[in-house]
Amino acid sequence: MATRDAVLGYGAAGAVFLALWEAAPRLGWVDERLLPPFSDVAAALGAMAATATFWQQVQLTLLETLTAFAIALPLGALLGVLVQESRLASLIFKPLIFFVFSIPKSIFLPIFILILGIAFWQKVAFGVFSTVFIVMMTTFSAVESVREDQLRVARSLDASTMQKILFVYLPSMTPVLLEAVRVAMIFNFTGILLAEMYASREGIGNAIGVWGLGFQIKELLAMVLFVSVLAIGFNEAIRYVEAKCEHWRN
């Protein structure tokens, strides 16, 4: 039921979007040079997908993204719960975390290069850095949404801290937390792309950066299209997990 609604929603939105994209340049609403029609971009994507380099780049970027995600999410969630759970820690760290969060992360890229060079782990580290704060901040609000009466039941059963986290906090926070996962994924992905655009030998971000500089707009949009599909794919994967979780929560 929910899936069908989602598919319908997607289908409709997607179709309208693509139709607009195709029509706008063709009918002269926008300059074709600034927004080539969808079919042209799709053709460019097709041509790209036929090359081996393309898939190597995609593979690398994906690997970086997933590695960074696998580190940032548990780390951020755990730190988030720990900070929120201690009144002292939350008073001390929450403002500081917020301030770091409000600085554009890209200005720290040179420091990452300084410490880690420009290889795989630099991208991963920067991905983690771009993600961990937002995960923590969302975790704070997730923890705050847990209800006192439910917690009281667990207390009356003398549940250990770990048990309370696993069996009361976590399920109760799930909607907010899953949102955090989704948001985190995006930050993570953007972080990796930025790091690749800034300095790298390969990867999707590198390709996008280069095409931008050369005004190769079809290729650029083709890659953006691909990246978007990829990101939406991630998003759906998380939604799938969400559905599973719903099960597990029960």
């Binding site: 009466d149 009281r152 009356s156 003398d158 009361v168 929560r249």
Partner: protein
């Protein structure tokens, strides 16, 4: 009887409850509300004690303290001769006034939850939970989520969750309030049966005087806020109890007596 003395040697060790010089005052933003005053009583092992008193007199607060969930402003609480400072489900189990079910768990899993926390194995957990659910007449709703249940059904799940823990002392805060009379009586009888079999100590908060008398060995009557002990009425009706006892003059007499105490 010493408060912090050695464990009772008998099999009933751990089933006694002692409360001494207990006072409690809430303070919120500088505004204080005295909820309880000069509370002292004890319940010997295996007794069924009811607490009655006007709304807002501190019954729930008292129960929360007996459960170790609320620290009294003053006074000591001891269970089985040892002081109680934090929740300990192996000594004391609680059924809350609001059902307080986990909305993401089915009725069955809500009931299984305390056992799950203790690491009881799956099959046994399930068996016990089904037993408890059957006891409250909800076997057919084992797989329903709380929001699919009626008010009374939620409360019954909550009772099942309390029973499944099988603690030597069981605290119950108006567990039957959301039930119709028929179910209420059935469940009361069920509770008595379990109590008699397992010789638990039960502290039962209710606002039904008949219910209190019908179920209890003793009834603790509290005054209006701040709650003080007005009297402790021993219910000298024979056991096992049956519905027709309600028609007996002794029953009416006891009811009348308590009623007048509260009304005054």
């Amino acid at each position: 009887m010493s408060l912090v003395g050695p464990d009772h040697p008998a099999a009933d060790a751990g089933k006694t409850l002692e409360v001494r010089d207990l006072d409690h005052t809430y303070s919120v933003n500088g505004k204080t509300t005295q909820a309880l005053k000069d509370i002292a009583f004890d319940v010997s092992a295996g007794r069924f004690l009811s607490i009655v008193g006007p709304s807002g007199c501190g019954k729930s607060s008292l129960l929360m303290m007996l459960a170790g969930l609320l620290t009294p402003s003053e006074g000591v609480i001891a269970v089985g001769g040892r002081p109680l400072t934090k929740p300990d489900p192996t000594r004391v189990g609680v059924v809350f006034q609001d059902a307080s079910l986990f909305p993401w768990l089915t009725a069955r899993r809500n009931v299984e939850f305390p056992l799950f926390l203790r690491g009881v194995d799956k099959a046994l957990r399930r068996e016990k939970a089904e037993e408890a659910l059957a006891l409250v007449g909800l076997e057919r709703f084992a797989d329903s989520l709380p929001h699919e249940l009626s008010g009374g059904m939620k409360q019954r799940v909550s009772i099942a969750r309390g029973l499944v823990q099988d603690p030597p002392i069981l605290l119950m805060d108006e567990p039957f309030a959301a039930l119709d009379e028929q179910t209420r009586i059935t469940m009361g009888d069920e509770l008595l049966r379990i109590w008699e079999k397992a010789r638990k100590t039960i502290v039962f908060v209710t606002h039904g005087l008949s219910e209190a008398i019908y179920l209890s060995d003793e009834v603790l009557v509290l005054s209006g806020r701040p709650g003080r002990i007005l009297d402790r009425v021993v219910i000298d009706l024979p056991r096992p109890r049956s519905l027709d006892m309600m028609a007996q003059p002794r029953f009416a007499e006891l009811r009348e007596a308590i009623w007048h105490m509260i009304k005054a």
